[in-house]
């Protein structure tokens, strides 16, 4: 046993550094962060701190890896990216993360972003990367087929409320059979949840999933499954649906633009409208944390501070559309004047900035938010894929939440 532990320890220290004094850092990200070029640049400028990126597909996979290795006390990267919705749960484990508080960085982030990463003791646990103001991505060619307006200014006038959005959807699916109105019920429900002040938990962290606002979201999403592809968001079929005219519109936070472009490679007709049903909404936006188990917390902190600086996040925005959460980056010309060729040269910077301004509600997210959200999405999926009637699925959701304790 001792031998086993020793050899494991030897492995662990191998990737921490090498004999010539170079510090080797790893950064674990999920989905797309747009960091590839930035890391290359850092490595060229900092020969003594070399960074490697580890990417996984989705946050849910990253989360399991994170918790497994937090529990075992080793194996995490020096820098771990955390999805915004999970930050409250991460802060409940503050001891396992390095306090990144740095007075020099005061005022770098939007207030609500900085607050979301600061725990009860005033320690900043994570550096915010991006924010997720949402617009609507749409296929202008498919809207044209349905005889609907296709110009992004006209599209933006079509729906300001969710009722309008669903009503337009009914018209669309009647005109274009075989193509859904939106990409997934999960995406739509998440967009709606992000406009609710207390979706799952009250301000004192009491779980309350039987509130009228949540019920409203539930009924809207499960009552309109005919408008959805009925596919699981992020699944193989969902990815394939981008190439098969699977749907016409979807809720698009900035970071989603890169996902759409990647999945819909070669498909023409995508555009991005400056509108969101029910007002503004923020979906996601991540944080970089440094686990205490890192052997080089100082260097990791330095790198995390560098890559989340406004200048770098502007470049990440240019790479994949992740909208910066740094105050100075918001009026950077590179952001405001940015357009995206894939989305019919839409002025994505200007649109996302306007979408960010429209955000009026920051939902309260307690430590169980991420777990309850997962159960909620499963409940939506059960109705979507036809395995349950809505009432039955809702009951299962309630019992799942009870299991969370």
């Amino acid at each position: 046993m001792a031998l086993l532990t020793a050899s494991l320890a030897a492995c662990a220290s191998d990737d921490g550094g090498s004999d010539d004094g170079t510090v080797e850092l790893t950064i674990a990200t999920f989905n797309e962060f747009g960091y590839e070029d930035l890391i290359e640049e850092w490595n060229a400028d900092n020969p003594d701190i070399q960074v490697t990126q580890k990417k996984v597909g989705t946050w849910d996979d990253a989360k399991e890896n994170l918790y497994t290795k937090l529990a075992s006390g080793s194996g995490l990267s020096d820098i771990e990216a955390i999805e915004g919705d999970a930050m409250p749960a991460i802060m409940a484990e503050s001891d396992a993360f390095v306090d990144l508080t740095d007075s020099e960085l005061d005022g770098r982030w939007l207030d609500w972003k900085a607050e979301a990463a600061t725990n009860g003791d005033g320690q900043m646990i994570g550096y915010a990367t991006d924010a997720g103001p949402e617009g609507i991505c749409y296929r202008s060619d498919l809207l044209k087929k349905a005889g609907m307006p296709t110009e992004r200014d006209e599209v933006a006038k079509l729906w300001t409320t969710w009722d309008d959005y669903f009503a337009e959807g009914e018209k669309f699916v009647a005109a274009v059979p075989g193509t859904a109105w939106y990409d997934s019920s999960q995406g739509t429900s998440q967009a709606m949840l992000n406009q609710v002040a207390n979706p799952f938990e009250s301000d004192d962290n009491t779980i309350d999933v039987e509130n009228p606002e949540l019920k409203e979201v539930w009924e809207a999403v499960t009552g309109n499954v005919n408008l959805s592809t009925r596919l699981s968001q992020w699944g193989d079929d969902w990815i394939a649906s981008f190439q098969n005219d699977g749907f016409a519109t979807m809720a698009c936070p900035g970071w989603m633009l890169g996902v759409v472009e990647g999945n819909a490679k070669g498909v023409e007709g995508w555009d991005f409208a400056d509108v969101f049903p029910g007002g503004g909404g923020n979906w996601g936006g991540s944080f970089l944390t440094v686990p205490s188990q890192s052997e080089h917390p100082e260097e990791a902190k330095e790198f995390a501070a560098w890559i989340t600086a406004p200048e770098q996040q502007v470049r990440a925005f240019e790479a994949i559309g992740a909208f910066p959460s740094q105050v100075d980056a918001l009026d950077a010309p590179e952001v405001l004047e940015a357009s995206n060729a894939f989305f019919n040269d839409a002025p994505v910077g200007e649109i996302l900035a306007s979408r960010a301004e429209a955000i009026t509600v920051q939902p309260y997210k307690g430590p169980k938010y991420s777990d309850i959200l997962q159960a909620f999405q499963a409940a939506v999926t059960r109705v979507d894929d036809g395995s349950n009637e809505p009432d039955e699925s809702w009951r299962t959701f309630l019992s799942d939440v009870e299991q969370l304790g």
Partner: protein, 334 residues
């Protein structure tokens, strides 16, 4: 029998007091060298087999006992050990609606995979045992699926079994069969997962059975042929009875593997939580262990589930053992 008798004789010799001069108590005083050599004969065999048992103790028995210990406590993945709560975790698991569902799923996938797997492996081994041109090529060929990593298998089969844009549904469409909801329909999802398992393990089992077939004495086939038995008759009346012990070995190992299935259903899952479908249509017991331990971060409940699975596997293994003894017993009588 002879083995046991000789041990008894040797043991008798060792303890028999031999009368001799210079030993008032009736014992012969042995030199150190003699004593060492006696110990050597007595204990060395145990020493030689000990590495296996030491390793087993470390990686088998210790985790087993520790899991039992953890299952009696409130135990958070991050927070660690909490209060002693006795069998409460077991009660919670047994009351959880997903437990029974997972047990049923596990058995269903196990039956759908093990039975076709062994039947096809047997047929395949029979074919490979026949004189073929390029024998090595065919024999290695059946092992290729086994070499492919399960993750790659899952990606390939994920594309084949897509609910909407999958290859199989496309092909079913040509013959007018409606699309099958591979990830939603409970039985269909079990069939899809069993296919993945079979694809991976059939060739491997076929090679083990083939090795056993090669050891069957040729004379038996000659006499069978003289008695007028055709190839098929020879296979069922000579080959199959002769390889029965190996066949049982394959059945036992595939049972144990089948009951612990994890990677295939988990990777097959398209939902974000990866719990085995939105309604746990294909959640298995090991997936539930993972769900409790790593998603809900309750190691106490995860350990209790793991122990329940262990008991199920032991029960099935005992059943297999009884079956093995009966069947091989018959084999000896013949």
């Amino acid at each position: 029998m002879s083995q046991r008798a000789s041990t008894a004789v040797r043991a008798g010799q060792g303890s028999d007091p031999l009368p001799g001069p210079g030993a008032p108590d009736g014992r012969v005083r042995l030199t150190l060298r003699q004593r060492l050599s006696r110990w050597d004969a007595k204990f060395s065999p145990y020493l030689y087999v000990s590495p296996f048992f030491v390793v087993f103790l470390l990686v088998g028995l210790f985790p087993l006992a520790y899991t039992a210990y953890v299952s009696l406590y409130e135990w958070n993945l991050i927070g660690g050990q909490g209060d002693y709560i006795g069998l409460e975790n077991y009660r919670r698991v047994l009351e959880n609606p997903y437990f029974l569902k997972s047990v049923v799923n596990t058995f269903s996938i196990f039956v759908l995979s093990s039975i076709p797997q062994i039947v096809i492996a047997l047929a395949l081994a029979g074919l490979l045992n026949a004189p073929l041109r390029g024998r090595s090529f065919w024999r290695m060929g059946v092992l290729v699926p086994f070499v492919v990593a399960p993750v790659a298998v899952a990606i390939i089969f994920g594309n084949l079994f897509g609910d909407r844009y999958g290859v199989f549904n496309e092909m079913l469409g040509w013959i007018g069969v409606g699309p099958i909801q591979w990830h939603v329909d409970r039985l269909a999802s079990h069939v899809a997962i069993a296919t993945m398992v079979n694809w991976r393990w059939t060739g491997y089992n076929a090679l083990i059975l083939l090795a056993a077939m090669q050891a069957v004495p040729r004379e038996l086939y000659e006499s069978a042929a003289l008695d007028g038995a055709g190839r098929i008759r020879q296979f069922f009346s000579v080959t199959v009875p002769m390889i029965r012990p190996t066949l049982l070995f394959v059945i036992v190992t595939s049972t144990i593997g089948g009951l612990q299935i994890f990677a295939e259903p988990r990777l097959f899952d398209e939902t974000m939580a990866r719990n085995g479908g939105s309604d746990r249509q294909f959640s298995t017991v090991t997936m539930l262990v993972y769900d409790f331990g790593w998603r809900l971060r309750d190691l106490g409940k995860a350990s209790a589930t793991a122990w329940l699975l262990f008991l199920i596997v032991v029960a099935i293994a005992l059943l297999n053992y009884a079956l093995t003894r009966r069947l091989t017993g018959q084999g000896e009588k013949r």
